[in-house]
């Protein structure tokens, strides 16, 4: 059995919000002390902030903020760093090296005789982001400026929507929906329209071709993705991530001390797993399927005309989609966050598992991420007609076969 480090994100954020409001209350009190006429209204404001309804409302804000910081600021940067380091190793070079030792501040620049670029390179992506923030946002003269501005926001917003329903463990999630997997897939499927609009509104041949390719490709791969999930529902009977993971925690076979868990991968769902994996790589637009921004043919595909932080958003959020795809894959087929705890120690009365469920989940996400990175830097790009052939003529029949197999397994009594 696995145990989460954060038993309830809402509970933790409620305490955090309470602490913030307590500090704000003290500051208001201090202001009221210095300027006596403001004392009455400020005390009323403090009381209003501390009322239960406002506190709950603010807690939801803090929860969303915590999840965005967790997903974007920590995991997105780490995933980008992992990709850039892994493919550099694959190409037999060091890769990015800007780290905390490159900062021109006192504790870091003491050794003048040593090179500044000598760290692990984690701050390289932060530096790139800072650079993009300083760039001018250029809208091409012939572009449809409203659509051009809407498209990056549309793509970023719909990608962040995924994380509203994506649980990181049984406790670390913003909302637990009964139809969570469907919600994630729905949020995933909104971005292609943004890509098409971005490609069209730039009024440039490369971007338009990139947008069209993206639309054709994502439409072809959306269908096997959904069909594979339908095959999964035949045996699990649920679209709730929590239920799916609980089902996969049970033991399939016990080989002495080692017990193999009942992951959906082991069983009739293996065809669905293959289909889902290929389709999700296509949804992430990674290299075997990165036709929409094939940099050898179309300058930078549909992102060619985007500049500054607009480019930074759509470029960086590819890794967020990669994290979401890997998380979905591991929830559906690879046991989610299940894993042994080994030992739980207590800090006061708070139980702290030594290997929490979140760590098991992130282990899966990053191993899948490294697999995707190795895949995309080791194989060549496929042609557009070949991609559509794979999607329509191979994956959809395979997905239908997976549905048949799953239905037959259900008829013969295989459950979960």
């Amino acid at each position: 059995m696995s145990a989460p480090l954060v038993p309830s994100l809402f509970g933790s954020c409620y305490i955090l919000t309470g602490a913030i409001i307590w500090i704000v209350d003290k500051i208001l009190y201090a202001i009221g002390y210095v300027i006596p006429p403001l004392n009455g209204p400020l005390a009323a404001l403090g009381g209003w902030l501390a009322s239960p309804a406002v506190l709950t409302f603010l807690t939801w804000f803090v929860m969303v903020l915590v999840m965005v910081i967790w997903a974007v600021l920590l995991n997105l940067l780490t995933m980008m760093w992992v990709e850039r380091k892994v493919y550099s190793r694959l190409q037999d070079r060091y890769g990015i090296m800007i780290s905390i030792w490159s900062l021109p501040l006192w504790p870091f620049n003491r050794r003048k005789d040593k090179a500044t670029h000598r760290g692990w390179g984690f701050l390289q992506n932060v530096a790139d982001g800072m650079k993009l923030l300083q760039k001018e946002n250029i809208v091409p003269a012939a572009a449809d400026s409203m659509m051009f501005s809407v498209a990056p926001a549309w793509i970023a917003g719909t990608t962040l929507m995924v994380f509203a329903a994506l649980p990181w463990s049984s406790g670390l999630s913003v909302a637990n929906l009964d139809l969570g997997v469907l919600f994630i897939l729905a949020a995933f499927s909104l971005a292609p329209l943004g890509i098409l609009i971005a490609g069209w509104s730039s009024n440039n041949t490369s971007t338009l071709v990139g947008g069209m390719r993206s639309a054709a490709m994502l439409m072809a791969y959306e269908i096997p993705l959904i069909l594979a999930v339908i095959a999964l529902v035949f045996t699990t009977g649920s679209l709730d991530p929590q239920t799916l993971v609980l089902q996969q925690e049970q033991t399939l076979v016990a080989l002495g001390p080692v017990s193999i868990p009942r992951w959906n991968l082991f069983g009739p769902q293996v065809i669905g797993f293959i289909v889902f994996m290929v389709a999700i790589v296509a949804e992430m637009e990674r290299i075997p399927f990165d036709l929409p921004e094939a940099d050898a043919e179309l300058v930078e595909g549909w992102t060619t005309e985007l500049t500054g932080m607009r480019f930074g958003l759509v470029f960086g959020f590819k890794w967020l989609r990669m994290i979401a795809g890997a998380a979905l894959l591991s929830i559906l087929y690879l046991g989610g966050w299940s894993g042994p705890v080994f030992y739980t120690f207590y800090l006061g009365s708070v139980p702290i598992p030594i290997i929490p469920a979140e760590a098991w989940f992130m282990l899966r996400i990053y191993l899948l991420g490294i697999f995707f990175v190795l895949l995309s830097w080791a194989v060549p790009r496929v042609r557009i007609d070949q991609i559509l052939n794979i999607g329509w003529k191979r994956l959809i029949p395979l997905a239908l076969l997976a549905i048949l197999v799953a239905a037959a397994a259900r008829v013969f009594g295989y459950v979960g």
Binding site: D144, L182, L185, L193, A216
Partner: protein
Amino acid sequence: MGLDWEAIAFVVLSVLEVTFSILLVTSKRLVRAAFWLAATLITVGGIYLLFRAEFVFLIQILVYAGAVPLLFAFGIMLTRRKIMEEPGMEGEK
């Protein structure tokens, strides 16, 4: 709190939906119209959510907001020789 949040949400969603539908049928640029179509269908999905029909809402987003405008935009672009309209054809202003 005497406010009926569901009624407020319904009014906001309805106003947005009517606005987007009017923009959809009056827009001269067909790809913009496809975007307004997506916005209209998402607000319709929001009204389904107010009826506590979460499944219909998600299918609405998945099929009608995700795929249908994409198909429309794809079809529109395949039928046109020019990437964008002539400047004189702009309806607004």
